[in-house]
Amino acid sequence: MTLDKARETVHRACAELVKAGLVARTWGNISAKVDDSTFVITPSGRRYEELTAADMVLVKISDLSYGGSVKPSSEKGLHAEIYRQYPEVNAIIHTHQMNASTVAAARKDITGMDPRHSAILGSIVRTAEYGLPGTGKLARATAFALKGSKAAMMANHGAVCAGRDMKEAFIVAGTLEDAARSFIEKAFIRMSGSGIKVTEKAMHDYYLKLVAER
């Protein structure tokens, strides 16, 4: 992919990601691989709606160096580690999506998925070991958790979704959100007993009952 094409791909993805409800504001980041040694990524802390394609930062996979005055996302190391370990990956989205983040906060792996989810995600989506944002520990743990899947969750943080191209990375992110929702709802049904229709209100009423009984 040319540098211009990669920048344009990431720029377009920023708007799509907010529209899809997978991130709000600047909470998350997106990258596309240019060649075996570089990728472009969203800049650190900037609002997506104000960005242009030229704002996307070119980063070297080997040492995370970059040119220009605009700083790349602080999660550049996470993206580089995934590109290093998974040569078939050409696009990565790091989301703070609601349901996957909830599963990640309980530090659970998503298993027992419906075939429509497992066909895309694999039989398990793991939550990577906890690490502080932006650290090498978190990058290595997340890349490890991606083995055998296109997605991984990051403990107490969010999720990372990878694809052969940006389109696939988006499909993975959307499917992960559905799978995570379904995982939470099944757990709620198991805990609360059958017969309760899963609605936000039913979940909240049951939660308040649990709190009152403690």
Binding site: R25, G45, M98, A105, A106, H204, Y207, V211
Partner: protein, 218 residues
């Protein structure tokens, strides 16, 4: 900023908060500070039909307000927070469902996600709340907001604050997600809390560095 422009922006934000369920037509309120004046939504008036004349102006130091105004029940709470926290430019009393349920549970919300620690603080406390709002409630809310950007109001949602309505909106969004996570992880065996030392560190790094990146990183 001129008052007319401030009112127009305020109404636009009121509609955004309403469309995203942070306030309803009958519950919740938003305000912002322009110098010594506070602009606040009127009692039980849907933001969808709000006009510039409906926006209530209140003198923060003295408490006088535009004639014929029908202020919300929590008006004195907004004023007390502006008087105590000089850097606060906007306040939202949100009644969003996840936040409301957490306020009804009456438990301190600990950060299970790092963005809650960064943007709201290392804990979200629960302050006393009922209407009419008295001096004791005002003191409890002001105390609950110390070194935080939001406080849960017992049984009544939460008060979120920021330098402006955009920042307060971010606080509402992150608190909603944090509360939702706090509730739903109960069904997954419970959420795993982030180490308290790290939550303080995250908050500090956010306030000193990351929150300024949108302007600085160009």
């Amino acid at each position: 900023m001129k008052l007319d422009q401030a009112r127009a922006e305020f109404i636009s934000w009121a509609r955004t908060y309403h469309n995203e369920n942070f306030i309803s037509g009958s519950e919740g309120s938003i305000s912002c500070r322009i110098g010594d004046t506070m602009l606040i939504t009127p009692r039980r008036k849907s933001p969808a039909t709000l006009t510039p004349e409906d926006v209530i102006l209140i003198d923060i130091p003295g408490g006088s307000m535009s004639s014929g105004a029908n202020p919300p029940a929590d008006m004195s709470l907004h004023r007390a927070v502006y008087r105590k926290y000089k850097e606060t430019g906007a306040i939202v009393h949100t009644v969003e469902p996840n936040t409301m349920t957490s306020s009804m549970a009456g438990k301190t919300v600990y950060p299970l996600l790092d963005d809650l620690a960064q943007i709201v603080g290392p804990t979200t406390r629960v302050a006393r709340y009922s209407e009419p709002v008295d001096a004791g409630i005002r003191a409890s809310v002001v105390k609950g907001l110390k070194k935080r950007s939001a406080v849960l109001l017992s049984g009544g949602g939460a008060l979120c604050m920021g330098a402006n309505l955009d920042e307060a909106h971010a606080v509402c969004q992150v608190l909603m997600k944090g509360c939702k996570c706090f509730i739903e992880t109960e069904f997954l065996g419970g959420g795993i809390r982030i180490n308290p030392v790290e939550t303080r560190l995250m908050r500090l790094v956010y306030l000193i560095k990351y929150s300024k990146q949108n302007v600085k990183n160009r």
